[in-house]
């Protein structure tokens, strides 16, 4: 035990002296999280400018315009009145407005009669979603009118005499569409980009220590240093334990620092401290087990680097460290749960969106520890052999 601590202390001393370790463990993840936070500042909100051309100036057109200026819509739409369709096209093309709505002349008259007419949504290929939302808003507005017309037509089709059309139309104006959408806020906060990617990048760079540590083990072995340790009155298990301890301490320190810096400087929300800390600790345990596995599987420094790189990048890709996993297809989201980092990111997302605590992370932490257990059990024997070889 004592020897393990001596070895761990020496390893940490060497690690702290190595500048690459500091760069990878602290500078890189913070820099990348900062970049992402900067890039996506404000991208969490959906808001656009909608151009409006009123060529009709009739009552229905005015009603539509007033509808567009309601407070409920103002959160997502800013209205910009334009003079002509030509101007609107130009504005949309240059994206000075995201989309535009054109009310043709004679619109109001047509709407109140049973003639057809059309509103035009001008769309740019670079912002189809703004045009789609504009179209939806306009459609909801004219839905009642169309519903009434359909009602009259259906009545006639089911047998009412056409002479009664006007009467039916009058009756139809009292109708209301019987299906309604009602909003119920959950009280959850949407996950901020930086709150997802700060942990994601921290975890990626935590995984890089697998490569670093396993490589240095083989470098030491090639230099005869492991053998020298074994010639001392030190049990091989203590050598392995010492290495494991140093990886653990460095991992915790690295994650902890990135947590502090991204939370303080970029407002990243990692969630309730105790819960987030537990997730971090369990991830470091997983990292330690993975390091032992790489040491057990590889024979040389080069091999260790190769295996470690493969393990790290595949885990990171599948687990969602590079893409916002929530928007991925469900099969990918399920695959992510085969990785410890996938569970960790899920835990952090849940913590920052629901403001939960230890109970929120119970399942993820158990999953991560289970993964560590499986990997660790496989690795322990192999790694022991690597030390005594």
């Amino acid at each position: 035990m004592r020897a393990a601590l001596v070895i761990a202390r020496k390893d940490l001393r060497q690690r702290v002296r190595d500048r690459s370790a500091i760069i990878l463990g602290l500078v890189a993840p913070v820099a990348i999280a900062a970049l992402m936070s900067l890039a996506f500042n404000g991208a969490d909100t959906f808001h656009f400018t909608l151009g409006l051309v009123d060529q009709d100036h009739g009552p229905v057109a005015t009603a539509l315009r007033q509808n567009l200026e309601l407070p409920a819509l103002r959160r997502i739409v800013t209205l910009k009145v334009l003079d002509s369709e030509a101007q609107a096209r130009e504005e949309v093309r240059s994206q000075r407005v995201a989309a535009a709505l054109v009310i043709p002349p004679g619109f109001s008259a047509a709407a109140t009669s049973s003639a057809s007419s059309a509103l035009h949504t001008l769309s740019s290929v670079n912002n189809t979603i703004a045009a789609d939302v504009s179209r939806s808003i306009a459609s909801s507005f004219v839905a009642q009118i169309n519903a009434d017309r359909l009602s009259v037509a259906t009545a006639i089709a089911s047998g009412s005499p056409t002479s009664r059309a006007a009467v039916l139309a009058a009756a139809a104006t009292d109708l209301r569409i019987p299906e309604q959408l009602v909003q119920r806020p959950l009280g959850a906060h949407p996950v901020k980009v930086v709150s997802y990617y700060a942990p994601a990048m921290a975890i990626l760079f935590l995984f890089f220590t697998i490569s670093f540590s396993s490589r240095s083990f083989f470098a030491e072995r090639a230099q005869g240093l492991i053998e020298r340790l074994r010639a001392a009155p030190v049990h091989p298990a203590e050598i392995l334990l010492g290495k494991v301890l140093s990886v653990f301490v460095f991992g915790v320190a690295s994650l902890g620092m990135v947590w502090l810096v991204t939370a303080a400087a970029f407002g990243a929300d990692w969630g309730a401290p105790a819960a987030a800390g537990l997730v971090c600790a369990s991830l470091v345990v997983a990292t330690v087990c993975l390091t032992a596995l790489v040491i057990g599987l590889a024979r040389t420094q080069r091999q260790a680097e190769g295996i470690a790189s493969a393990v790290v990048f595949i885990l990171a890709l599948v687990g969602g460290n590079f893409v916002f996993i929530s928007t991925a297809p469900s099969v990918m989201r399920r695959l992510a749960l085969f990785t410890p980092n996938g569970w960790a990111l899920r835990a952090f997302t849940d913590l920052s969106t629901t403001g939960g605590g230890l109970h929120t992370v119970a399942v993820p932490v158990l999953a991560i520890l289970a993964f560590s257990g499986v990997v660790g059990a496989a690795a322990v024997r192999l790694a022991y052999r690597a030390v005594t070889a």
């Binding site: 059309a118 035009h120 909801s140 959950l186 996950v191 490569s211 080069r302 890709l317 928007t327 849940d350």
Partner: protein, 385 residues
């Protein structure tokens, strides 16, 4: 010829290095697949649906939602799981279709469909509007059917069918979409997005990492060899540069080929595309050579290579389109050669441009290549003397 011999030796070493092969072959393809599968979310909203036994009316609504071009629908078995999905951002909102929906509508009542949403999310509000318009159009059919039944008689279902068939014929106040331009500023969704951007990213990262370490380990042997063999520093630099360009080209060709054959990516005008590929390979080689003179050890190369590569890739628009970031960040991004390369690929693939269309981008890349190669050659030449 000595430079060729040197280039050959360097390439042989890379081919034998399994880690390098993983980074050059397996990883890029994996990343392309994953990012290609995920990058679809910019033009559609995801909505969840929980059907608590809503009957036919509910099914019709879900079918109409699925048909909508701006929505992707995911079904959930319970309100709890849908709630979690909304909280996680997997869907923008979740609709709960009540058990009494169909019955209530038939009985003449009005039905409210609840949309579960997050607080303060405008994305969700936009999705809400999209859903609302679908609900409204569904509801019109029901209104029409109920009206006809009450006025004229017949069953509700008969009138529903009548209403459905009449929808297309009744003169309506329509809302039509007109597209005013065809100049897309972003690459299309899916693999046509990820393959070109990953081409830019990976050729850069791999040349940067690989080159730096090759050169560094060479450097020690070179000094000894220099004193014995009549080899001029210029020949060595030329050899290293050649091997790097070859490496980059091979990597690029692998990705281009895989993209075209496996993912159905069309790379645009062949001549322009080929020029862009070669030019990017030269830029990457320049960066690699320069890195070889700046990095102090192979370990540094392995550590800093991927880091800088990811950083520049993010800035340059390889991970997400620069059109979604603020103008300031976009401008900073154009300090990297990546942004210009992605712009060129966007022009070629999304807008079908030819050589002329990417002339500016190519010119900037040429400038980058020349500057990098010159700087690297100068530094390397000094180190070898």
């Amino acid at each position: 010829m000595t430079p060729i011999a040197i280039a050959k030796a360097s390439l042989q070493r890379v081919v034998r290095d399994r880690r390098a092969l993983f980074f050059m072959i397996a990883l890029p393809i994996l990343v392309i697949i994953i990012i290609g599968a995920t990058v679809r979310g910019y033009n559609r909203f995801s909505v969840g649906v929980v059907d608590l036994g809503s009957g036919r009316a509910g099914h019709d609504l879900v079918a109409a939602l699925a048909d909508s071009s701006d929505l992707t629908v995911h079904a959930y078995r319970s309100t709890a799981s849908a709630t979690t999905a909304v909280a996680r951002g997997e869907v923008s909102l979740a609709l709960v279709l009540p058990a009494s929906m169909d019955a209530g509508l038939r009985a003449g009542r009005s039905v409210a469909v609840t949309a579960l949403t997050e607080e303060a999310s405008t994305t969700q509000e936009a999705a809400y509007n999209a859903v609302a318009s679908v609900v409204a159009s569904q509801g019109s059919r029901l209104q029409a059917a109920r009206f006809a039944t009450s006025v004229q008689g017949g069953t509700l279902d008969q009138n529903l069918s009548r209403a459905a068939s009449l929808e297309a014929r009744v003169p309506v106040v329509a809302v039509e979409t007109l597209q005013v331009d065809a100049r897309s500023n972003t690459l299309p969704e899916g693999f046509s997005y990820s393959t070109p951007t990953m081409l830019v990213l990976f050729v850069f990262i791999n040349t940067l990492t690989g080159a730096a370490s090759i050169i560094e380990t060479r450097r020690l042997g070179m000094y000894e060899r220099m004193s014995v063999a009549p080899v001029r520093p210029r020949a060595i630099v030329a050899g290293e540069a050649m091997s790097l360009v070859t490496l980059s080209l091979l990597q690029a060709l692998l990705i281009v080929g895989t993209g075209a054959l496996l993912f159905g990516v069309s790379w645009g005008d062949p001549l322009a595309a080929a020029t862009l590929v070669v030019l990017w390979a030269v830029v990457a080689a320049g960066v690699g050579l320069l890195a070889g003179t700046l990095f102090r050890s192979p370990e540094q190369a392995s550590a800093l290579g991927p880091t800088l590569g990811i950083l520049f890739g993010m800035l340059g628009g390889c991970m997400w389109p620069l059109s979604i970031v603020s103008p300031a960040v976009r401008a900073i991004g154009h300090a990297t050669p990546h942004a210009w390369a992605v712009d060129a690929w966007t022009a070629l693939i999304a807008r079908g441009a030819g050589f002329a269309g990417i002339a500016t981008d190519l010119a900037v890349l040429v400038a980058f290549a020349v500057a990098l190669m010159a700087l690297a050659t100068w530094r390397l030449g000094r180190r070898l003397v």
